[in-house]
């Protein structure tokens, strides 16, 4: 009897031992593997830095906002000092021009020494480049050491661009959400939905406008209105098919038909981008401005462009939110330097400076909890700015429609309102 008990006990002991040792072996092996991959990554990165030294890269990025340009200038100086990489900011008016250029290089079979080494991108431009095979693949973003501070698991948005998987071809750079701003001295309660906004525009002739599509913010505004008006929002996540979906845009067109004659300058002229809206609001030509950067108003206040009484708001049911990215064209011959520069741009130092409302105010893509305590404190102690909404206020976020909707909306808008002076 006792024998049996001891046998059983022994059996259990052995079983436990096996389990524990198995777990231990598994853990240690994964640890070793991890360590090995870390060493490997480290080696890879060291080589990349070495190759990158002395290279000059052309960074094609929208150049319509002075604060962003200054920030890029600062970052370029930093990598010059640290890694001996020269970054030249090519200021562009519309990212689709860059895509067109790379496409024309590909059709001319210029597969090396492309004009563009790095491009600031998201949305339909990314989806087009991905479809046309114009991007550097190789899952390079994981190889950048500073991605360790990003929490991809809890932030799937960092790996998806307008619902399209980025497949490691795009490095998240910043987070944006469409927001509106107004001067609280003159406007007490701003309109917080598409319908309220319609009434506001009709009652205040000439005091509202949006950047002229195909400008990024202008088109996003149209998407925002569409999402608010459409009944079945889920259909927006599937690709746009003309014969099935065209009628779904009708609520947007009838909204615009009502509103357009009451827009600024009778809807016959539009500002070219969102920076121009800031100036119009400062002059009080319009009542409401919009931007994708949640700290835009605060930033403009600290630069002295807007009055201190300006405040931000978003619509009740939320506004479009997305991530903007950095990616490398397939035919760049300076991919090493581009990667080193990108890695710097997502470092805590660069992201902290970017999030500072006096510099740019673009929220960081890093996960504060993953950072070392010194950086963590710095991020937590950043002042938010009087006109920036807090995280609770910004909680209502709308998902971007599938990129194929952009072209459909833009083309029809141009046909209906952009060419019928």
């Amino acid at each position: 009897m006792l024998n049996i008990v001891i046998k059983r006990y022994l059996f259990q002991m052995i079983f436990h031992f096996i389990i524990i040792s198995l777990v231990f072996v598994f853990c240690s092996s994964t640890y070793a593997l991890e360590k090995q991959s870390y060493v490997f990554q480290n080696e890879y990165w060291k080589k990349t830095i070495k190759k990158a030294s002395g290279q000059t890269i052309y960074f094609h990025a929208w150049g319509g906002a002075k604060n962003i340009n200054s920030y890029i200038k600062w970052a370029s100086n930093e990598v010059m000092k640290k890694y001996n990489i020269e970054v030249i900011h090519v200021k562009i008016a519309d990212t689709s021009n860059v895509v067109a250029r790379i496409l024309s290089e590909k059709t001319a079979e210029k597969n090396k020494n492309g004009a563009v080494d790095l491009v600031w991108i998201n949305g339909e431009n990314f989806s087009f480049m991905k479809k046309q095979d114009l991007l550097f693949k190789d899952n390079w973003i994981i190889k950048s050491p500073n991605t360790k501070n990003m929490d991809f698991k809890n932030n799937p948005g960092l790996l998806n661009d307008f619902g399209i998987s980025t497949n490691g071809m795009e490095m998240p750079w910043g987070v944006s959400q469409l927001n509106f701003y107004y001067d609280s001295e003159y406007l007490k309660s701003p309109p917080r939905s598409a319908l309220e906004l319609r009434n506001y525009i009709i009652n205040n002739k000439g005091r509202f406008t949006f950047p002229q599509p195909p400008d990024f913010v202008g088109t996003s505004f149209l998407k925002q209105i569409l999402i608010e008006l459409i009944k079945d929002k889920s259909v927006l996540q599937s690709p746009f098919i003309k014969k099935n979906h065209e009628y779904l845009l009708n609520p947007l067109w009838s909204w615009l038909d009502e509103v357009t004659p009451f827009l600024w300058q009778g809807g016959k002229n539009y500002p070219s981008n969102y920076s121009a809206l800031t100036q119009l609001l400062a002059d009080r030509e319009i009542d409401i401005g919009m931007a994708f950067n949640i700290a835009h108003a605060s930033n403009a206040i600290s630069e002295g462009k807007l009055k201190k009484t300006v405040r931000s708001y978003i619509h009740e049911n939320g506004t479009l939110a997305n991530v903007h990215f950095l990616s490398i064209p397939y035919n760049s011959s300076k991919k090493d330097a581009a990667q080193v520069f990108i890695n710097f741009l997502i470092s805590p130092k660069a992201q902290l400076k970017k999030q500072n409302k006096d510099v740019w105010g673009d929220p960081s893509v890093l996960s504060v909890n993953k950072l070392k305590s010194e950086w963590k404190n710095k991020f937590i102690n950043l002042p938010r700015g009087v006109a920036t909404l807090n995280n609770e206020e910004l909680q209502m976020k709308l998902e971007e429609p599938h990129p194929s909707w952009v072209k459909a909306i833009e083309n029809q808008w141009i046909q209906k309102y952009g060419s019928s002076n």
């Binding site: 340009n69 200054s70 059709t107 002229q212």
Partner: protein, 561 residues
Amino acid sequence: MNIKLYNQFLKFILFLFGIVILGPTFFGVLGLLFPAFGYFPSMGSNDFSIKYFYDLFLIPGILKSILLSFYTGFFSTILALLFSQIILLSIFNTKFYYYLKIIISPLLAMPHITMAVGLIFLLSPSGLIFRLLSPWLTGFNRPPDFFIIPDEYGLSLILGLILKETPFFLLASMAAIEQFPANKIFKIGKSLQHSNLSTWLLLIFPNLYKRIRLVIFIVIAFTSSVIDMAVLLAPSTPSTLSIRILQIYQSVDLDSIFIASSLALVQIFIITILISCWFIIEKIINQKFFFLFIIKILPREKSLLEKYLFISGVCLISLSIVGIVNAIFWGLGDEWYFPNIFPDTYTFDHLTNFLYENKFIMFISLFIALIVSLISIIIIIVWLEICDYLSFQNRYLESLIFIPLFIPQISFLIGVQTFLIKIDFTNYLIALIAIEILYVIPYCFILLGPALRGVNKDFISIGASLGKNRLERLFLIKIPLITSSLLTSFGIGIIISLSLYTPVYFIGAGRVTTLTVETLNLAISSSRQDLGVATAFQIIIPILILLIIVYTNKKLTKWSF
């Protein structure tokens, strides 16, 4: 035998120069024509077709764009010509005539874009004029929602172009007046009891017109295809044809290059039609009955019409000056809200910031301008010397250098760009310099050519009899004699190069940027303060260059006879 070989060699050099100058023009036209007719082998299109000419009429609003380009070109040219003549006839033979050159030089020297910016600062609903009138007269305590600049019909674009081209016509006319005894003719007219207006129209203008005809055609070609000014002053729904071409050329569609090239051909066609219209009008005016008709209706006495026209002409010129001064105020002002006429506070921060961030751009702009102007002048001198040596007198060949001025910039540059991509030429700076030379040479040539040819032959023969060879004669006799023209054309070359927008935008491809391109970027987005600073630099730099040239000229020619 040896000399014959030497001559052959020189002819070869002449031929080479011809290729250097005309080669890009040729390839630009080729690079435009092939895609326009659907031929672009590397894009998988091997057949010529005219299908894109059908496609382009399907672009929404394209006919409106074409019409807009057409009449802005026509009216701005004819009105600028009118105002320039009115100003001239009113002050001809008065002491103001001699000050006129000083007033118009800075207006001529600054880029088109600066004029556009000045106008916007002045006329927009939040601009200076509404600030001056508000709220005491208008009752506005915020800017009104007026659709003035840009406006629906392209009137502000026409206004901007008039402001910029009137000084150009003034200069051209003043140069032409010196070529015939205008003073005597004017006095004869006056002694026949004619007013200034009728004297000018009947006696002087016909003489003058022959001499500025070329300039008029250049202005027609430019104004109907202008880009930089149209970005700021033309309506945007839809814009002028040139802007539409730019947009289509840069869009992501695979067809875009074909459609843009066919549209660029349409742009050339517009200019051809405009110039033909001009010919027809010339023909009509040349008829005897028309001349008699004019004589009949023209009032002999100084009429009110003349007075009004003169006043509006003067107003226009002062408008541009005030607009620019206002732009400089924006560069120095801070917290300047409507309807304050002056800024609340002044600061140099914008200025120092701008300098810090754009010092490289300013350096490269000046560098390109200097190189371009220098090379242009060297080419002209060598060309003229060789022509002189070979007694080569073909003036028609020379008129070919004016071709780039008659082809719309956008059409020509699309062609060049296509060609550059095709041959995979990646040195943007060299390409840009080569293309800018094409635009600078004609202006330098207008000044330098007649001066160098006009050197008194006796001096040369004396030099030759003293045993000086050709090179010595050039450097010791000819060049010192034409120092003043040489310096002026060098300065003009720099100023033209600095003001070019479209070539830098296209050929520089963002890699090489100049101050003019940067200013346009600022104008369509960022803050007024930065735009003000950029505009200030765009005025100060050309004026400084003019002053330096005047000063050096004085220093250098003090001892000459």
